[in-house]
Symmetry: C2
Subunit: 385 residues, 2 copies
């Protein structure tokens, strides 16, 4: 019944009886319980809801704002925290750009502050949180809520992130690799909703990918599937760089883009966003930089594609500020390197994808637990299963 | 009941009644039908089969040799044809090495001759064939039984291979990519039987791979998943070579191994087999060649691994003549390039893997059709479903 209400937004008791196949007394009793618990409220019927004759029917609404979830994207360069209602609709978000982080305690402080500020902005009490989802770089043991390996974040290896977060919030916390969450967001509301064999490339200061096979996230035997940023193209292997970046992301990530633009004589851009924007304006130096990183990316990505042969590749992350320029240059360079070339699309979710995926992860868990807690009602009053 | 007989090899009627849950009269009637059709025979009970008292029980045996299947491995350098009984046990095989093929008609002639000779050697009539399986390089449309794209075989593109073969044999013909079949053989009787997240690399004159995800062959959106041989590592893309080979297989395949050994002053080896054998004897030049191709392979394969993160990689094909030498050098070079390294094993099936996979493909189809044809017996005489 909760599901029927969730799906329609609002409904009359008669409609709930029809949709669920439950008896009218059962539905009425359930509505009463859910109203007491704060999940359902009675609202005034709008004109179209009102029947022409008879007394106005009660219209019931699922209170998606009765409780909230948090979605957090944490990485070495930013913390992004989104507060969403039970439907996954974001009601407030806070972004903290981080210029220098030396210890994991620093980074955790940024996370704590971002949570406090986001909840404050949304006017949501910490006690009203139903679940938290967190996306982080690296290899994650999502069952244990711990980070296994994350070379790009200082002190992040082996960190029990979920346990740490539960000191700040009084609800279940779920951790996953950031790009895995981004691909969930793409499936949920992005470019990937119609395809179940796809690769998402998240390209910013770091470069990672997530792989969907038959609509399922493919994690791999060590949770390392999709770690394209650590691909090493040099004849003599370079290994992980001193700053924790992998060889490929070190060569094509946003820092490399700024560096290369400077080398080519660009003295006006203050950061990658400026270079990427200049490319969309047709500025020659910026176009050259985009072409160079697209070529390098294609060189490392073509063997990755040879393993998966996906139908669709979505490019997401900060690089999408270069718009069609980056998409078309990557498509060009893949065309000459890959035996079978996929469709190539830009993500419309941009920098929000990871946090939105984290929101989805948290909302899905919260919804499941809510449904479980009322399970006995759906067995027509016959008691708990 | 057929399955029960297949699984045990031989059984008494009493045992079949127990194993199937069918009534004794039903089992007896089924045995009679199957005996008439030639699938079951009565054999003398061995000593251990004979009860101490009472009359000797009838022991029934599934006649796996009642009909046969063919498994064919066809490529630009060889045709390998195996005749197997209904259990997939190979009873005869013929290998034709091909030194120069200029047209697809030439190659098809080799296939026709190999079939005739293999059947002759097995003493099997063409009319007694239940199914044929064929493995071929390239991208295959296995539903249509046609080759979509196979750059390494002259005239092979768009060839309706199954339709052509049905001119020579009077039974269903199934086509698949050769490496896909090799991985099925590994799952069936090889190194991959305990793992359902694995990559098989078939490394000979060509280099291809097949990917199992969750125990299922991952074909990809265009049937091109696993085409590692076409990976292009050069900064300036090389594309498909004049001889139809992809850039990577051109650099590390058996022809390149012989070429490189010659460059290093090897004047005794007549072919790749000699160089590979020399490496197992610790010959320095051969070891250097193995190390060089292992390094190049790892460079192209590491990004491929980054997509899949398999638990196990099996190396198969002619390269396995170099034994532990090639395995350990590949392991070494992957170790320094891959974020997560899989277990690495050599295939024990060697050059037979593709033909064995083709046998398995044919046997599985033949068994399914046999079971379907007797389906009504398993519904306890209640008629066809």
């Amino acid at each position: 019944m909760l599901r029927a209400l969730r799906d329609t937004g609002s409904a009359r008791v008669t409609e709930l009886v029809a949709a669920t196949g439950l008896s009218r007394p059962t539905v009425t009793a359930a509505v009463s319980t859910l109203t007491t618990d704060g999940w359902v409220e009675e609202v005034e019927a709008t004109e179209s809801d009102t029947p022409r004759m008879g007394r106005p029917a009660r219209v019931l609404r699922f209170r998606a704002d009765a409780r909230h979830v948090l979605g957090i994207d944490v990485g070495p360069h930013k913390v992004y925290c989104a507060v969403a209602d039970f439907n996954g609709t974001v009601v407030a978000h806070v972004r903290r750009d981080i210029t220098s982080v030396t210890t994991h305690a620093d980074l955790l402080d940024h996370v704590r502050l971002a949570i406090v500020r986001a909840l404050d902005e949304a006017g949501v009490e910490p006690t009203s949180l139903a679940a938290v989802g967190v996306g982080t770089p690296g290899i994650v043991d999502e069952r244990r809520g711990a980070i296994v390996q994350a070379p790009s974040v200082p002190g992040w290896n082996s960190l029990e992130l979920a346990r740490w977060l539960r000191q700040s919030v009084d609800c279940p916390v779920h951790i996953d690799n950031d790009v895995n969450l981004a691909v969930m967001a793409e499936q949920w509301i992005g470019a990937g909703s119609a395809t179940d064999n796809l690769v998402l490339v998240q390209w910013g200061s770091r470069v990672g990918a997530a792989v969907l096979v038959q609509g399922q996230l493919h994690r791999g035997a060590h949770g390392a599937a999709g770690e394209i940023g650590f691909v090493d193209l040099a004849a003599e292997p370079q290994g992980v760089q001193p700053d924790g970046l992998g060889p490929l992301e070190s060569a094509i990530g946003t820092a490399a883009i700024v560096r290369r633009a400077r080398e080519l004589g660009d003295i006006t851009s203050r950061g990658a966003a400026d270079v990427l924007a200049a490319a969309t304006q047709g500025e020659q130096r910026a176009l050259q930089v985009i072409d160079e990183v697209a070529a390098q990316f294609a060189r490392g990505f073509a063997p990755f594609l040879a393993a998966i042969d996906p139908e669709l590749v979505i490019i997401g992350g900060r690089i999408t500020l270069a718009g069609e320029t980056i998409r078309s240059r990557v498509a060009h360079h893949l065309q000459v390197r890959a035996l079978a070339t996929p469709r190539l699309e830009l993500s419309a979710l941009g920098d929000d994808a990871v946090a939105l995926g984290a929101v989805k992860l948290a909302a899905a868990d919260a919804e499941q637990r809510l449904l479980d807690s009322y399970m006995y009602l759906s067995t027509d009053g016959a008691g708990r299963p």
